[in-house]
């Protein structure tokens, strides 16, 4: 069974075009939000944090980047597959010679690429406000790509699962957003009291933020291999779930 490269590219291109129809809102919103976080949190908390000589602005840049990556990847991919379901246009995907590989490359690839573009814009914006550097640029890029792909896969699963706009928002808003805020975006886990440090350890986003921060600062709460390992495991679990969905037709075929 041959891979339908043109089919995958057609979906990828169509998704990117759809996302770029709202490009100004898509770019302006994270740029403004990131700027506000850097200015407000920097002014409010920066003085009080003991970060071992690291500037607070530089400390929170990886966390803010992760916040955007998680929310944008998830919402782009979930919206991308949910809309054809909502409008009925999913019939074309189901009747076309495209399988799970082409679909994932198309939908998830496009969502991940948009997240990466936003990540670059956020890093550019942050560089105008704070002085930061990236200790391991290639590792940082690899990790950002890994996170964008993983959470685009999660978004794709959410989009398939959702049968209404409310469900589409539940996980990004009620799960991912709080976990990210509690996941060390604005503070090191070591700054928490004993029991809260233990509680924080069960928050998976802690490892994501920590991993990205390590590639920026060369230091973080956990060793880099823990973060990489956890993210790869998450990616594989998402792929397995999507494979099962396509095999059984769950929420796709009657």
């Amino acid at each position: 069974m041959t891979f339908n490269a043109r089919g995958a590219f057609a979906i990828f291109k169509n998704e990117l075009m759809r996302m770029f129809r709202t490009i100004f809102g898509s770019i302006l919103s994270p740029v403004i939000t990131t700027s506000l976080y850097l200015v407000v949190f920097g002014a409010a908390m920066g003085e009080r944090m003991d970060l071992g000589g690291v500037d607070y602005g530089a400390f929170i840049v990886p966390g803010l980047l992760m916040l955007t990556l998680l929310s944008e990847s998830t919402s782009n991919a979930s919206f991308g597959i949910y809309m054809p379901k909502f409008t009925g246009a999913i019939y074309e995907l189901l009747s076309a010679p495209v399988g799970v590989a082409e679909t994932l490359i198309g939908f998830v690839g496009a969502a991940a690429v948009k997240s990466l573009i936003l990540a670059a814009i956020i890093l550019g914006t942050a560089s105008l406000i704070v002085d930061y550097s990236i200790a391991y640029p290639l590792l940082a890029l690899g990790y950002i790509v890994l996170v964008a792909a993983s959470f685009s896969l999660l978004g794709f699963i959410i989009g398939l699962w959702a049968d209404g706009f409310e469900k589409l928002q539940i996980i990004p808003l009620l799960v991912l957003m709080p976990l990210t805020f509690l996941g060390g975006t604005f503070y090191p886990i070591s700054a928490l009291d004993g029991v809260w440090q233990t509680v924080a350890m069960i928050n998976p986003v802690v490892y994501l933020v920590s991993g990205l921060r390590w590639t920026f600062l060369g230091q973080s709460d956990f060793p880099i291999w823990v973060s990489f390992g956890a993210t790869v495991a998450f990616l594989l679990i998402c792929i397995a779930i999507i494979g099962w969905i396509f095999k059984t037709g769950w929420r796709l075929r009657e």
Binding site: M1, T2, N4, R6, G7, F9, A10, I11, K13, N14, M17, R18, R21, M83, P84, T87, G88, A89, I90, Y91, E92, L93, L94, S95, A96, P97, V98, G99, G249, R253, E254
Partner: protein, 314 residues
């Protein structure tokens, strides 16, 4: 010798909850023909199409397209199958030409703007190619659906209620489009509620009800087998009995003897001949009739009769 392009054997679909939408459907479609699948709402038409096109997972049976098993070679076979669904389903905010290009690409075809232009022009959409789909009229949107289905040049095209809810002018326009596709050798399976559409377009007709195919035959053969002529002879003075000379004909009296009703024939003209014979016999016997109404049964009458007699089998 007709060459089968689609061969469905024992197709079954039972939905969760136990609703049996397809109950052992056997159907063969030949290359180059237009086949009309008739049936009331819920008969199984859309489920049958969905089973071939990938939206529905059959629970039993075999589908062969171009002589190959669809279940195992779907990726290759679907490149040559097109579908125009009943609902208008696309990204309303996108432009016409982009949506048509997208469809062509998704089916694995190389970009070909000349072909896209040809498709759009044939559907009178070229001038609207850069319009957002949401800005088009209902009829134009339906044409976009057809353009999307034709963009990858399918050999086998499913049209699910292509003219549902469109005005008469557009319906006739659609029929012309379907005729053009037939001339290009595309095999077309259309489902419809409009019997007139089947009469106008189809080479063969199938009737489905409760997930079972009740009848499949050439349109003219169906008319010959199941067509009827009905004639009403009305009299000023009632007849006491049917004249003995008419005993060989399928006639009976109604309305107190003032109306002699003939129901017979086979759709080949036999009914009209018998009505003429009855008129001549009545005239010879001096029985004066004041009026005569005749009508030939249509495919619609046959369809309704079939649905009322669900035991009739193919």
């Amino acid at each position: 010798m007709p060459e089968p392009i689609l061969d469905i054997r024992g197709l079954e679909k039972t939905y969760k909850g136990g609703v049996k939408a397809l109950d052992g459907v056997d159907l063969t479609i030949n290359r180059g023909e237009i086949f009309a699948l008739l049936g009331p709402n819920g008969a199984g038409k859309t489920t049958l199409i969905g089973s071939v096109c990938g939206m529905v997972r059959p629970t039993g049976g075999v589908i062969e397209v171009f002589g190959k098993n669809l279940a195992t070679q779907w990726k290759t076979l679907r490149r040559d199958i097109g579908l125009v669904p009943q609902e208008l389903s696309f990204d309303m905010f996108d432009k016409v030409i982009r949506q048509v290009r997208y469809s062509r690409g998704m089916f694995g075809c190389a970009p070909d703007d000349a072909r896209i232009e040809e498709v759009l022009r044939s559907l009178s959409l070229w001038d609207k190619r850069n319009s957002q789909i949401r800005a088009l009229s209902g009829g134009m949107k339906r044409r976009v659906m057809i353009a999307k289905a034709l963009a990858h040049d399918p050999q086998l095209l499913f049209l699910d209620e292509p003219t549902a809810g469109v005005d008469v002018e557009l319906r006739r326009d659609m029929w012309r489009q379907i005729d053009m596709l037939r001339e290009r050798g595309v095999t077309i399976i259309l489902t419809t509620h409009y019997i007139e559409e089947a009469e106008e377009m189809a080479d063969r007709v199938g009737v489905i009800n409760n997930g079972r195919i009740l009848l499949v035959d050439n349109k003219d053969a169906i008319m010959a087998k199941l067509g009827r002529t009905e004639a009403h002879f009305t009299f000023d003075a009632p007849l006491a009995d049917i004249p003995a000379s008419l005993s060989a004909f399928p006639v009976h009296l109604e309305e107190g003897g003032t109306c002699l009703i003939y129901r017979g024939g086979d759709g080949t003209g036999k009914g009209k001949r018998e009505v003429a014979e009855i008129a001549q016999i009545l005239a010879r016997e001096g029985i004066v009739f004041a009026g005569l109404d005749t009508r030939e049964s249509t495919l619609e009458d046959i369809f309704v009769d079939l649905l009322n007699e669900p035991e009739v089998s193919a």
